[in-house]
């Protein structure tokens, strides 16, 4: 299988962004036990922040990343405090929490759609459908988005690692992820860790959203399409493991891009719209073979693997 460098580059950019989204989804799933169906719309929220900065103030999307990060974090915290916390306090079932995030997704879609009409009206430029590729440039032979997305993911992973493993807060955070009741007895404020996880999840999603328009066209409804890939990535990784989300993000992102590209060379470019079918197939195969995800598989207990290794 030979891929053009461009295709591989695109696959890696997309996977980097997907990893940001699936790590965010996984973190809130671990702390609050609810899969956030609005994660895709969180990303589109980020895209619209970048678009606003670009159209109204002429700020390049790369410089909007810190702003998006803060707004996304605040959105995440608001969602937790005003929507999920009241429900968790009432001991609502997990399905009710999921429906609440579906409702949130719809509300966000409504706001993003309304805002896109409004922004389009005042700037007289299309805001319902936009793409940032004309604003990208090349550094040497490589597109800037490739380098930026790698730098962003490297910084985020490094700081996440430092935070979780090298600080006292990180220890408390991991403790309350593993066993909230026990952590609470030891004096950890589980509430803080939940709020923090939603801040993190929201900010990771909006940062990904800031960069996503360099890869694909954004419409207000993009969130409900990309959510399939995010879920596939998180489930492949096991839904409850941050490492899993990392591995899953790359597996789903790369296979989605490369398998669809490979198919398009055989069947023609018409199949490119079916990239999400690939994600879905990966998801379903994973659920049948190992519903606990890659990190849930007890690799050492698989006999044939053992015989190969020894």
């Amino acid at each position: 299988m030979a891929f053009e460098a461009e295709v591989l580059e695109g696959a890696i950019i997309y996977s980097n962004l997907l990893v940001l989204l699936s790590i965010g989804l996984t973190i809130t799933y671990i702390t609050t036990a609810v899969p956030n169906f609005a994660q895709g719309s969180f990303a589109v929220f980020g895209s619209y922040i970048a678009l606003t900065m670009l159209r109204l103030f002429g700020i390049h999307p790369y410089y909007s990343i810190p702003i998006a990060l803060i707004f996304g974090g605040l959105l995440g915290v608001a969602v937790y405090l005003f929507i999920l916390k009241p429900l968790i306090d009432r001991e609502a079932e997990i399905v009710i929490l999921m429906i609440a995030t579906l409702a949130l997704d719809l509300i966000l879609l409504g706001f993003l759609g309304a805002y896109s009409d409004y922004l389009g009206g005042i700037t007289k430029k299309a805001a319902k459908k936009f793409i940032f590729t004309p604003y990208d440039f090349n550094i040497g032979n490589i597109s800037a988005i490739f380098i930026v997305s790698i730098i962003v993911i490297a910084i985020i992973l490094a700081s996440l690692f430092l935070l979780l493993y090298k600080t006292k807060f990180g220890v408390a955070l991991r403790a309350s992820m593993e066993n909230p009741a026990l952590a609470e007895i030891m004096g950890v404020n589980v509430e803080y860790t939940r709020i923090f996880s939603w801040f993190l999840s929201g900010s990771l999603a909006t940062v990904a959203g800031c960069l996503l328009p360099f890869r694909q066209e954004i419409v207000p409804l993009t969130g409900s399409i990309i959510i399939v890939s995010i879920f596939a990535a998180s489930i492949v990784g096991g839904l409850a493991s941050i490492y899993g989300a990392l591995i899953g993000g790359y597996i789903v992102g790369i296979s989605e891009s490369l398998v669809t590209y490979q198919l398009s060379t055989i069947l023609g470019s018409g199949v490119l719209v079916y990239s999400k079918v690939v994600s879905l197939i990966v998801l379903v195969v994973m659920l049948i073979l190992a519903p606990q995800g890659l990190t849930g598989v007890k690799w050492r207990k698989i006999k044939w693997l053992k015989s190969i290794l020894s």
């Binding site: 609810v34 899969p35 169906f37 929507i83 009241p86 429900l87 009432r90 609502a92 079932e93 997990i94 399905v95 009710i96 999921m98 429906i99 609440a100 579906l102 409702a103 949130l104 997704d105 719809l106 509300i107 879609l109 409504g110 706001f111 759609g113 309304a114 805002y115 896109s116 009409d117 409004y118 009206g121 409900s224 399409i225 959510i227 399939v228 879920f231 596939a232 489930i235 839904l239 719209v273 079916y274 999400k276 079918v277 994600s279 879905l280 998801l283 379903v284 659920l287 049948i288 519903p291």
Partner: protein
Amino acid sequence: MAQEYLILDIVIWFGLYLIVCISLNVEYGFGGIPNFGRALAVLIGAITVGGIVNRILMATFGVSGGIVEASGLVKSVTNEIIAANPAIGIGILVASLLLAALLGAITGALFILPSAKLSEDYLAITLLAISEVMFMVSYYNTDMIGGYYGVSVPNVLAFVPGEQRLSIFALIILLIAFLAYLLVDRVTNSPYGRLLRAIRENEMVAEAYGKNVMVVRIKTVAFGSAIAALAGALYAYYSVNVIASSFSRVEWTFYPFLMILLGGLANNKGVIAGVLAFVTVKVLLMVYKFEITAALHLPFEAVWLEYIMFGILMLIILIYKPEGLIKEKPIMTDPIKRLVDKIKKAK
């Protein structure tokens, strides 16, 4: 005249949504299966009419070519035949409904297979993902049901004068909704319905009593999807065309969840109340959207306002009134009735 149309619109949407909501109530309200892919079954109903019945008619009349153009031709030929012979129109409608229910049941059972054993969150995610992807494929693939071009569908009431078509169609939809309601009401009041509630409350206990939870789930989703597919087929014949974009997650998954939560879960009468309340508001919003946009000086389309409003309504229900308008009642089997009588006498 305008008022008459308004009422007919409400009746038609009430019937369509009632069918979908009672099917969802069996699955989620009674069985506790969070089917976040309800829209898929409705889409299957529409595909039955737009993709399969259309192709059968194409083969019958020897029309060839792409489905988008051919469906238009088939439509005019079929309409003429139906206008002369009403029985054929009714026959096509009934046959399509049966076929839609059959295909709905098969797809429902197939698509829950990978996740039937899993916990609720995995189940919901998988069903939503499958439904979203199917929606996208049928929208972008123009060979199946015409994709973004859509396909035409014969007017099964071509023998009825134009001005009466809408009222008669409203009656047909209401009739089928009523039949579906009776069926679901009977099923949910049977031992099977009680088994569903038992599984919802505690899977382990049901399994300990020798019930196979996975098989019950598959059967339930097949049953629910068969009913929901009826709504898709009816909607296709009502609007005399099929376009994939009308079968979005918002319209056919989220709104049905909103209606059954509004009315009260596991409670078929509650569903009627929820659907009626929701549909009235929605139709009024649809009809007066330009007036609303103008009156409020909205710098955007009214549909976004609709999304925000119904999203917030859902959150309000979940947080402040989780039991809905009408609460779920205990099941009055004979032994329980006797027990209640005893307690009353003792007092």
